[in-house]
């Protein structure tokens, strides 16, 4: 029989699997909230553009709150607010809701910038050619404005991907939380943090480089 219980054990192969699984969770929560948030954000951006001051006073100021309060506070606040109004959400659900609204708040600004980047004369020209309002929006504004703000959108996407690490405050075991758990057990912070950092870097760096290339080509 073993006399002493070992609390700390070294970093093994199964831990790598644990980290990989957590990395997938990071990817999944970011993917989900970014895709829903982007759709919502574009709709809000369009409303902000079309709605003049009424929209700015209502949607604009509400979205502004989500940009001016730290994400971590929003997460804690929502996680504790949901049960008050009778919703029972797990950390993942709360994380997705807040990250989605946060993405939407950031994307709405980008989307409005994109719509305003299309010259009015061009939109008038498309309407004179007999296009309806929606045809003009989808065939003229979307391709041209979208291309103009694509790098800014990538910036938002990468920001949200990195900020998804904050969902760990609710106890959702994503990559950074998983590495924290492993650090507590293995007492090897350097190796594990380096692995987690390398994963984020490997995901974020190529995309940001691609966006920079795209911007350069677009500027020419």
């Amino acid at each position: 029989m073993q006399e002493t219980i070992t609390f700390f054990s070294g970093f093994g192969a199964s831990d790598l699997w644990f980290l990989g699984d957590a990395a997938l969770k990071t990817l999944w929560i970011s993917l989900l909230s970014i895709s829903i948030g982007t759709v919502l954000g574009v709709i809000f951006g369009w409303m902000l553009h079309e709605g003049k001051w009424m929209a700015a006073a209502t949607i604009g100021s509400i979205l502004d709150i989500f940009r001016s309060v730290p994400l971590i506070i929003q997460l804690v606040l929502f996680y504790n607010f949901a049960p008050i109004v009778g919703l029972s959400l797990d950390p993942f659900g709360s994380g997705v809701v807040i990250l989605t609204i946060y993405t939407a708040a950031l994307v709405s600004n980008v989307a409005r910038g994109g719509i305003e980047a299309v010259p009015v004369s061009m939109r008038k020209a498309s309407r004179s050619l007999g296009m309806s309002y929606w045809q003009d929006l989808f065939h003229i504004v979307l391709p041209i404005g979208g291309r103009a703000v694509f790098p800014a959108w990538i910036g938002v996407v990468l920001g949200v991907m990195k900020d998804s690490a904050l969902v760990s405050v609710l106890g959702y075991v994503e990559l950074l939380k998983a590495s924290q758990i492993l650090i507590t057990r293995t007492q090897e912070p350097f190796l594990i943090l380096a692995l987690a950092g390398a994963f984020y870097f490997a995901l974020s760096y190529p995309i940001s480089r691609y966006a920079a290339k795209f911007e350069q080509r677009w500027a020419q």
Binding site: I65, S68, V69, P70, L71, I72, I73, Q74, V76, L77, N80, F81, P83, I84, V85, G86, L158, K162, D163, A165, L166, S168, V169, L176, S179, Q180, I183, Q187, E188, P189, F190, L193, A196, G197, Y200, F201, S204, Y205, S208
Partner: protein, 220 residues
Amino acid sequence: MFEYNFHWRPVLKSLPDLLQAGLLTLEVAVLSMVIGITIGLCLALMRMKLQGPLKWFAVSWIEVARNTPVLFQLFFFGFGLGAMGVNLPPYVIIVTGLSFNCAGYLAENFRGGFQAVPDTQINAARCLGMNSWQAYTRIVIPQVFRIVYHPITNQMVWAVLMSSLGMMIGFRELSGETQFFASRTFRIFEYFAVTAVVYYVIVKVILGSSRLLSARLFRY
């Protein structure tokens, strides 16, 4: 529908402590920004003007700061350096982490600013008999400052928002203090709601005063 009784009294009682912590948040953010601007300027110049190892040092600093989560960077300065035997107090960890992050982001802004001033202007200044130092301080820097003013303001807001991560490393600035009180009274929602308002006010004050200052600075 509401079966939850809101109790605001404990929050009101500890409001002075929270506001005190808010000042600490501002202090940390301002300090990190001052260090971040100084280092960011150096990194930008190193990346543009130098070759060899120093350039690669600057490039890797910038890319790591921009492509990994802030929380990861804080963990690194906390746990990672702790493993090497350098145990920093939370205050130093958060200031180091935020400065590291801000320097990386600002360096790219500064680089954009310097590239926006054409070389011909420096040549012209030199032709007029200015030396290199005069050309830089009187021709280049004022124009660069104008370009990077808004990015610096934005980064300042980010620094305030990011300082909320002090909560995760046991630092008692506004968020950490809030969590401390919240876990003592279990009035989590009330405490974090008040904190959110404080953050909102801080951000609005920063943006407002920056706008006033810019109206005063850039009159011409």
